[in-house]
Symmetry: C5
Amino acid sequence: MATSKKRAKRISKSHKKVGLPPGTMTYVGNKESSELIIEVYNYTPEGVTHKDCTTVEDAVAFLATDAVTWVNLNGLFHVKAIEELGKSVGMHPLQLEDVVNVNHRPKIEELTKGGLFVILKMLYYNEANELIIEHISLVFKDNTVISFQEDDKDVFDIIRQRIKEPRGVIRNKQADYLLFAIMDAVIDHYFLILETLGDKIEVLEDQLIYNPTDNLVGEIQQLKREVLKIRRSIYPLREVVGNLEKAEHPSISDDTQKYFRDLYDHTIQVIETIETYRDMLWGLMDMYMSSVSNKMNNVMKVLTIIATIFIPLTFIVGVYGMNFENMPELHYQNGYYIVWIVMLVIFLAMLYYFKRKKWL
Amino acid sequence: MATSKKRAKRISKSHKKVGLPPGTMTYVGNKESSELIIEVYNYTPEGVTHKDCTTVEDAVAFLATDAVTWVNLNGLFHVKAIEELGKSVGMHPLQLEDVVNVNHRPKIEELTKGGLFVILKMLYYNEANELIIEHISLVFKDNTVISFQEDDKDVFDIIRQRIKEPRGVIRNKQADYLLFAIMDAVIDHYFLILETLGDKIEVLEDQLIYNPTDNLVGEIQQLKREVLKIRRSIYPLREVVGNLEKAEHPSISDDTQKYFRDLYDHTIQVIETIETYRDMLWGLMDMYMSSVSNKMNNVMKVLTIIATIFIPLTFIVGVYGMNFENMPELHYQNGYYIVWIVMLVIFLAMLYYFKRKKWL
Amino acid sequence: MATSKKRAKRISKSHKKVGLPPGTMTYVGNKESSELIIEVYNYTPEGVTHKDCTTVEDAVAFLATDAVTWVNLNGLFHVKAIEELGKSVGMHPLQLEDVVNVNHRPKIEELTKGGLFVILKMLYYNEANELIIEHISLVFKDNTVISFQEDDKDVFDIIRQRIKEPRGVIRNKQADYLLFAIMDAVIDHYFLILETLGDKIEVLEDQLIYNPTDNLVGEIQQLKREVLKIRRSIYPLREVVGNLEKAEHPSISDDTQKYFRDLYDHTIQVIETIETYRDMLWGLMDMYMSSVSNKMNNVMKVLTIIATIFIPLTFIVGVYGMNFENMPELHYQNGYYIVWIVMLVIFLAMLYYFKRKKWL
Amino acid sequence: MATSKKRAKRISKSHKKVGLPPGTMTYVGNKESSELIIEVYNYTPEGVTHKDCTTVEDAVAFLATDAVTWVNLNGLFHVKAIEELGKSVGMHPLQLEDVVNVNHRPKIEELTKGGLFVILKMLYYNEANELIIEHISLVFKDNTVISFQEDDKDVFDIIRQRIKEPRGVIRNKQADYLLFAIMDAVIDHYFLILETLGDKIEVLEDQLIYNPTDNLVGEIQQLKREVLKIRRSIYPLREVVGNLEKAEHPSISDDTQKYFRDLYDHTIQVIETIETYRDMLWGLMDMYMSSVSNKMNNVMKVLTIIATIFIPLTFIVGVYGMNFENMPELHYQNGYYIVWIVMLVIFLAMLYYFKRKKWL
Amino acid sequence: MATSKKRAKRISKSHKKVGLPPGTMTYVGNKESSELIIEVYNYTPEGVTHKDCTTVEDAVAFLATDAVTWVNLNGLFHVKAIEELGKSVGMHPLQLEDVVNVNHRPKIEELTKGGLFVILKMLYYNEANELIIEHISLVFKDNTVISFQEDDKDVFDIIRQRIKEPRGVIRNKQADYLLFAIMDAVIDHYFLILETLGDKIEVLEDQLIYNPTDNLVGEIQQLKREVLKIRRSIYPLREVVGNLEKAEHPSISDDTQKYFRDLYDHTIQVIETIETYRDMLWGLMDMYMSSVSNKMNNVMKVLTIIATIFIPLTFIVGVYGMNFENMPELHYQNGYYIVWIVMLVIFLAMLYYFKRKKWL
């Protein structure tokens, strides 16, 4: 339930935006408390400088160097800082608007004066095991990559580590490879999400077989919704990564393009897996429905067996409970025993009948 | 029900049109009482003139000026005025026919002598919470945008405000930006519709889980129909906005084209959301069906438990209600108590059986 | 049922054709009694000549004039006349075959020596309210349009009227506009069909909600089949009209092409409506199934309530109907009344239980 | 059942082929007993020679003549003869392999040295009313058409007749027309198949309405499978015939291409019909399921009415069957009659209740 | 169950990989125990050399010869050896990564310095009758084909045999034909898989008709999942083989391309068959659901018949079990017999009613 409540809240916020002129930057997410931290990595094959700036000016200062620079801004609530930083690399107001519009779908665009603007969705499960979809924007220009993210939780630790390693591949490559590395980190993390999802589906399936309960349908539905959400976040990636793989962007070297081709393969694989999960969830729903039908069938069988056996017998004993004056059988010495025998025969005949019908 | 009644009425009207020669302007909507008001905004970066004209001549007079002019005509019932106004900017009779044919789907066309003709659908919920689909036509030519709408209720107040603000972006741009601004206002409003729809779906889902009633299926069906209607109104927009984004219309500047690209992103997002809602509604129907099955299952279980326990017991008491002369048990001192004990044992055995079957 | 019988008959006839060499004209429809009438309209802006010819020669005589000529042949059974007439404008034997093959799908083809050959389906409901699909072929060459139709019932009266009006648009245009006018009359009529269909769906929906009966499923099925048939007749039109709108046929003027563009919009709208109806019919089937389930649920509830209340009570009275000698309760002064009180308590407890379960 | 057994057998055979080098000709069908007959028709507008050869040499001798030659080989079991004949017109080993691989899907290919190679499926119902799918390969080169078929049953008798008629169109055309004529004969026969199928669906539908039995679902399933099989055989034809219609094969004259265009129309019509049948069969399954639900509903109603009426009455008579000493009613003069009246009132009240609920 | 357990394990492993820099070779499969064996075949039309090398150096030595060389490496666990071997033919690190990433989907890529890199899936059922999907990579460069496979079980024995045969086609062709032969062996084996699957579906169908049990739904579900997995492995092949058939790879001769065209036909056929199986499995689920409903119907009928017959009779005998003082019927001489006759009449009337309703 928690997830759907959350979604409701997010959507409600999004209409803050309706009615504003285009190009107005409005953060429509709900992570407002985060403080402004601009993480900067400035590296050459020879060395790395790492600094956590708190003002945009500090960060922008690094852009002028010859080294590759990664500027990572946390907290889309800091609209002013984002605008300042974005304008320093020549972003269009409409693009700046998209950076903070967390409902925007993944896309790729060229900057007006050269360079690329990419929107992605970062997926992870939080501590409460809810699926979090975070909005990430990347700007790549010359020897700089700027990343804007909603929260200070991310999947980029591996990149930070690799940048710090003197012999890391990343240190010897240009900023286009850094762009790839960040996108790769995001998309690689999808596999973890898919794995968790796959495990959930399997657990559900086992429960359906060994212990089907009424609320399973709610859980299937919940998973379906999760798959739907993931699908919406991932589907447009096909186009985004496909564009990087196929189009000739002058700022992306042939060598790096090979890496994007590899990333494209991963994207397709993620999409195919999510489709398979979708099919499997539909299958689960079918299994659930048939298990419900089977249970009902079994309930009915028990009722039918008991009723079919005892209703006729109750009739018989009713007959000899009548108070007619003239009922010869009542006076027979063995009348009572004969009735018992008759009833036993009926009882056994019924059992045999049900046995043959495979109801027992 | 109200909505479907309405639809019936509208369709019935549409056949007024069958049999007329093409190019005949016939208003097939049902908002006939509205008075003719032609709202004119004539603005330059320096100043704005606003006038509510009541004759076409007054409005046309503004077109000759160098300033950007927005002419907004309310009431498609005023066929004559529309024809006059349309011809003044060189519209084709077939296009004039489409302006008043409220069933026409969204489209974009070029005017014969330069300029663009766009049909959109404006969606809003009225006071009775019914979804209203209003037919809007836009004509863009030189420094003029003409909008034709069915009713005087619209979503353009934000544009009126922005035009009046001396420093507004809109004041410093040409008519192509005005065209964008109007389309943007319409499409931005879709997000509000989607939000309302999303809330309705959530409420339904909660009801399905906590308080499923028989008439929920009617409400799901109603929502499905609403989604179907919205979808039909929005789908063709992909093509319309896509055309403005991609094609090279000489009258649309490169700068404005960027805004249309942004609008295209929004359109795609609206379409994707509506598709997701569709999937969710199908899921709800599944949930409903399985909830109905589960309820039936529970009803059956109660019946089966009661019947299975008491039918055999009733048989036993029936046996000792027989009137045979020779029934030794009847004369036992503790016969009655023994029967009670036997019945108690059967009763407990049954309870245990149902417990093990997890029916209790 | 009538419709499906009819279809059976038509299909049965179609195999008369199997085994004949291609280009053999065989009328496979079932309207054989109609007499040969060749209606000819020959008009210029100045005047009209109208004649109902009974021989092909009479009709062909008009073709040589400079005026626009519309030749309308009723009765596809008159294979010889069709052949003669067709050959006079240079039709290929295969095209002549298609004129009388009423099962042929809509298409557009060029004539060998210039001109166009179009196949359409005319839909109408007959007096028995059955959907009739009539096969219509149009040949357009120079200043002539020839139409071949199965029956003398048609939707062309408005064209006849307009030709007779001296100031009608049609009188001032060439034969390409006449071709458009005929196709427009056919396609405009589809809207009436869709309206009737929409009304039927609504009536069904109301019945499903207020008075669901067993045979509604048959009616839903019947409508589905009707939608399927209409869809098959209309779908290929997208291509046919699209071709006229897009391709550059030298014999179609730019001005008329605009009208075909308008017709194309209508065609798309018809197709979209039919698709919506299809979705709605599927929804109805779902509603029906859930209404059946709900009814069953209610039946089961009544049974369960009655049985659950009275079966235990019947057991109790059974107990005191036993004939044991030693049953102390039977001799209590108020035994009988105590039993009644006990039973009343059980009865009320049951009622409370069902109330809480919301079964009452 | 028979059909599915057969299919099992055929598939089992197909794995004879797995593991053989490509280009190895292995007949995987199950019609092994047929004798080698090579039917040859050699004709010009002036005259026809017809001979049933038993050796390939005899047949090949005709190929050198200037006349059009049709060589028809029955029995794909005669791998050697097929190889010899195929090589005489320059077929590739892989194409020869496809001639005898009866599981191969329809396709069209060019021969290495000019000419065309076409694979089709011939469908017919055999005497046991089973759907037979026969594999047919056609080779067209210069003035020769060679056809390879599995069995001596075929649909080519009409072609044989037409060749023998001195004034037949076929006699005056080249071999490309013969290729068309053979393909036309095969595809025309599909209409007969569709007709039979349509009749079967109608019969099923009538049975579903008037006399639904349990095994209807098996028959629907059987028809679905048949439709699936036909679909698989016919779908690739779209591409095959489309290629002949559109591509410019130098050996096919413009005139004949018109005939292929006609054939293409027929192919599309066959495919559309099969799709309609598929939709109808799904609809039948829905009807069946709802008819089952309705029947269950009726069964439940009968049970509920009887039980609801008599269970309370039985309780009442049980009350007065109790043996309490002090039961005043028992001693009333009219106690018995009063009870009867009470029961009658209850009975009538129940009837009224059920009437109002429309269960009676 | 076993299969799904397995899958869970494999997926779990795959996240070993998340977080590693791209180009890092990590074997994510679970066949780690296999020893390194590099099988080398070096052949010309004149002779064959076969050697099982244990070091990469031994194998690489053969590559320099003019003869065609097939290097087959078993065991993807040997990452070092694979890297060494791969680099000797100029593979990119990303391609080497894909060789050991057993979850990678089938694809085709060019090597940086000429040559092709192909990923396939080899399918077989193991002894436990589980479907095994093995990851196979092929590298083709100049006169060499290198194949990397997970396990020492494979489907290549026929190729080994054919290489050893002095007159085999393969001996007289170049390495491009060897590439084809290996892919052909893999794809040909799919037909065996499909056959087994087809047999399983048929067995299930027979069981559904003759002996439907509750756990059939689990088996249908299992098969659906298997079809889903196969589909995912085979679908991308369309593109892979299609590329080889259509694109002009300079290293693939025209002659061999014909073989790839043939392989493409087979691939399409495999895909079509798997789609048919999918449709059939959905049909089975429908059959299962309707069989469950029918069984429930029959259970209900038995209950209803018994209850409907005996409940009224029990009421009657209850009436005459009452203890009213004044009940005249009790004193009739033949009262008892008359009651029996009345009950018999009711009994027979009921039977007749059920007979007419076709419940008996």
